[in-house]
Amino acid sequence: MNQLEKQFKIKKENLLNIYCTAGYPQLDSTAEVMLALEQHGADMVEIGMPYADPIADGPVIQESNMVALDNGMNLPLLFKQLESVKDRMTIPVILMGYLNPVLQYGIEQFCADASHAGVSGIILPDLPMYQFEKHYKQLFKKNGLSFIFLITPETSEHRIRMADKLSTGFLYAVSASATTGNAVDITSQKRYFEKLKKLQLQNPVMIGFGINNQERFHNACRYAAGAIIGSAYIKMLGTQVPVGDGTKAFISCIKGELPLAC
C-alpha cells in the first residue's frame, strides 16, 4: 500500500487535494509550495508536469504551464526537486500531466523515477483506458504507483465501473463537462454527485474542476471523500503574496476555519 492509499485509510472525509504546476510561479517554487501545502493542512498535493498543449485545462492552468516552461521546467529537473523534498513530505504526492512528455521521457523510466522521488499516484488524462490496461497497468503497479482515471457527468455507468476497476488510490470525478477552472452550476451537479454516491464504487471519489471556495469544497465533500482545487490556488500563487502566508490563508478559507468570505 502506497502513501496515497494509506491516506484514504487514515482519513475518510473532507480530504483536500491541492494542485500546482511544477515550476510555477518560479522555477524553484515547487518544493516551497509543496512544503507550505503540507504544513498548512492539505491532505495531498498534485503536481502538474508542464505541457505546452494542455487541452483539458482552462486559461489559468494553461498560463501557469507556459510560465513554468518558460522558466525552464522539465521532467528531469522536476524529479530532482521532488527528491530534495521527499523526506520532509508526509502527505502523498501525485503527478498530473499529459502523455506525450511522459512517452518521450520513456514511460518505464518515468515510473521508476517517479517512484524513487516519492510520488505515489499518477494522472494522465489523455491515456486511454484500454491502452493502460493492455500496456501499462503492470508497470505502474510494479513501481508502487496508483493510477487515477477521470470520470465526468457524461461518463456512462458501465464506463465509470471500468474506470473504478482500473483506478487505484482514488477516482477523479470531474464536476462538470468543462475544462479546468470554469465556473460550475452547483445545483445541476447534485444529481451527478448523488448518482456517484449510490454506485458504491470501490475507490474513494475526489471531486475536481470548479472548486474555488468554501461552499463548493464542503458541498463536494458531502458526496465524496474530498475535493481537488487547482485554478483557484494557481491564481493565488500568481499574486505577490509570499507562498507560506498565501497558502495558509487559502487553506483556512477553503476549510472554513476563517470567518471571512473567501
Partner: protein
C-alpha cells in the same frame, strides 16, 4: 477460407485504420474523458450514417450542385511540354470556396445534422477550412464558430472577412505560436465545454479516431474522380504519379486514397520546408519529426526531447502545422509515399511560374506541390496528376510583396 482472405486483405490495407483507429503504429484516440462521449458517438455511428443511401444521395447532390463537382482534370499542355511529360491538374481550386476543404465540411455537416447537433465548431489555418465550414453552416442554418490563430487572422484577412460575412463567429487563438496548432487546442477545449449540442469539424486527417478516417473518406472523392476522368482521357484509370502538398494532409489523403493499393502509382507528398530543413523554421514533419501524441492521435510530430511540440514555420498558413495525419505517418514509415519538401522561396517561385504558364494562381500551400516538379525525372509517357488543392486569391497580399 473466404473470411480469412478478407481479414488478410484488411490487415494489409494501408488506406484504412483498424478498429481502434490505428494505421500501423499511428493513430488511436488519446483524449481526456471529457471528450470521450462525443468521440465514441462518432466512432460508433460515422460508418453507418455515411453508408446510408439517403446520406449518400444528399451528399452527392450537394457536392454536385453546391460545391461544383466533379472538378475538372485539366491537361496542362505548356507545363507538360516544359517537363517533357503529361501533366494533369486536378482542379480542386474550382470548388466552391476555392479549395478541396468543402468536400469534408459538406460531409461532416450532414453527419452533424443526423447526430442532432445544432452548433458547429472548427479550427482553421489558412482560413480555407473555416470558410468552407462557415459556408455549409450558412447553407444549413447552423451556428458556426471558427477558431483561428491570432497570427493567421492577421495574414489571412480576406478569409476572416468571408467567414464573418457568412455569419460565423471567428475567435482568435492567443496561446502558443498563435497558429493552427493553437486554434485546434482552443476548438478541442470548446468541445469539452459544450458536450451536448456541438459537433467539431476537424479540417484535416488529424485528431482522434475516427477523424483521420472520416476526413480521408470525405476527401477520397478527389481520387475517385481522377480515376474516372483519367480512364476517359487516356484509357487507363491509373496515373504514373500523384503529387500533393501536405500539412495535416487532407488533400493528399483525398488525392492518394484510391491509389494507395495500386502499387504502380507513385505517390509523392510535399511538405513545407519553410526557410530550409536545418533552419529551425520549417514544417517538414516527416523529415524532422518523431513519434508522439498531439491533438488526440499518435503520429509523427516536431517536438523537443522533452516532448513539447515545437513551433513550425511555413509561408503558407495551411501547412504551418507541427504534425501530420496518422495515415500519412504510416504511408511514410511503410515507404508507400515518397515525402519531398519545398521551401517558402521555392513555393513562391512555383506559384508565379504556374500563374504565367497555365493562367492559374494557386494557393501558397498548393504551390509547394508544383515546386518539386523540377526535382523529379519524368518519362515522356508518364501521366502525372497534381492535386491543385486551392486557389491563390487568399494569398494575394503575400504575392503582392513579390511582384
Amino acid at each position: 477460407m473466404y473470411k480469412k482472405l478478407i481479414m488478410k486483405n484488411n490487415k494489409n490495407n494501408l488506406s484504412r485504420p483498424d478498429k481502434h483507429g490505428y494505421y500501423g503504429e499511428f493513430g488511436g484516440a488519446y483524449i481526456p474523458e471529457m471528450l470521450f462521449p462525443n468521440v465514441e458517438e462518432l466512432q460508433k455511428k460515422y460508418k453507418k450514417i455515411t453508408g446510408e443511401n439517403s446520406f449518400k444521395k444528399e451528399l452527392s447532390l450537394l457536392l454536385k450542385d453546391f460545391a461544383g463537382r466533379p472538378t475538372p482534370l485539366f491537361h496542362a499542355e505548356r507545363l507538360s511540354k516544359e517537363f517533357n511529360t503529361n501533366i494533369y491538374l486536378k482542379r480542386e481550386d474550382l470548388c466552391h470556396t476555392g479549395a478541396h476543404k468543402i468536400n469534408n465540411t459538406i460531409g461532416q455537416v450532414l453527419l452533424a445534422e443526423r447526430l442532432g447537433k445544432k452548433r458547429i465548431i472548427a479550427e482553421t489555418g489558412a482560413g480555407q477550412h473555416g470558410v468552407a465550414t462557415a459556408t455549409v453552416c450558412a447553407l444549413r442554418g447552423l451556428e458556426c464558430i471558427v477558431f483561428m490563430g491570432a497570427k493567421d487572422i492577421e495574414r489571412q484577412a480576406p478569409n476572416v472577412a468571408r467567414m464573418k460575412m457568412l455569419g460565423a463567429t471567428v475567435i482568435p487563438a492567443l496561446s502558443g505560436s498563435q497558429t493552427l496548432k493553437d486554434a485546434t487546442n482552443e476548438a478541442i477545449r470548446d468541445w469539452i465545454n459544450h458536450p451536448h449540442n456541438t459537433h467539431y469539424i476537424i479540417g484535416s486527417v488529424v485528431g482522434p479516431h475516427p477523424y483521420p478516417d472520416m476526413v480521408a473518406r470525405f476527401q477520397s472523392i478527389i481520387s475517385k474522380e481522377i480515376r474516372q476522368q483519367l480512364l476517359k482521357e487516356t484509357g487507363d484509370r491509373c496515373p504514373s504519379h500523384v503529387i500533393a502538398c501536405v500539412g495535416g494532409g487532407s488533400n493528399a489523403a483525398g488525392a492518394f486514397y484510391h491509389f494507395i493499393e495500386e502499387k504502380k502509382v507513385k505517390l509523392i507528398a510535399v511538405e513545407a520546408a519553410g526557410m530550409g530543413l536545418t533552419s529551425g523554421k520549417t514544417a517538414a514533419t516527416t523529415q524532422l519529426g518523431t513519434t508522439g501524441i498531439l491533438h488526440g492521435s499518435k503520429s509523427l510530430l516536431m517536438q523537443t526531447a522533452d516532448g513539447q511540440v515545437t513551433e513550425p514555420h511555413s509561408i503558407s498558413a495551411g501547412l504551418d502545422y507541427p504534425g501530420i495525419g496518422p495515415l500519412h505517418a504510416n504511408l511514410f514509415k511503410q515507404g508507400r509515399v515518397l515525402f519531398k519538401n519545398a521551401t517558402d522561396e521555392e513555393a513562391l517561385q512555383a506559384a508565379f511560374h504556374l500563374a504565367k504558364t497555365e493562367g492559374i494562381i494557386p494557393a501558397l500551400e498548393t504551390a509547394h506541390a508544383f515546386a518539386v516538379l523540377k526535382d523529379i525525372s519524368f518519362k515522356k509517357n508518364d501521366r502525372v496528376v497534381i492535386c491543385l488543392s486551392g486557389r491563390g486569391d487568399k494569398d494575394l497580399a503575400t504575392y503582392m510583396t513579390y511582384l
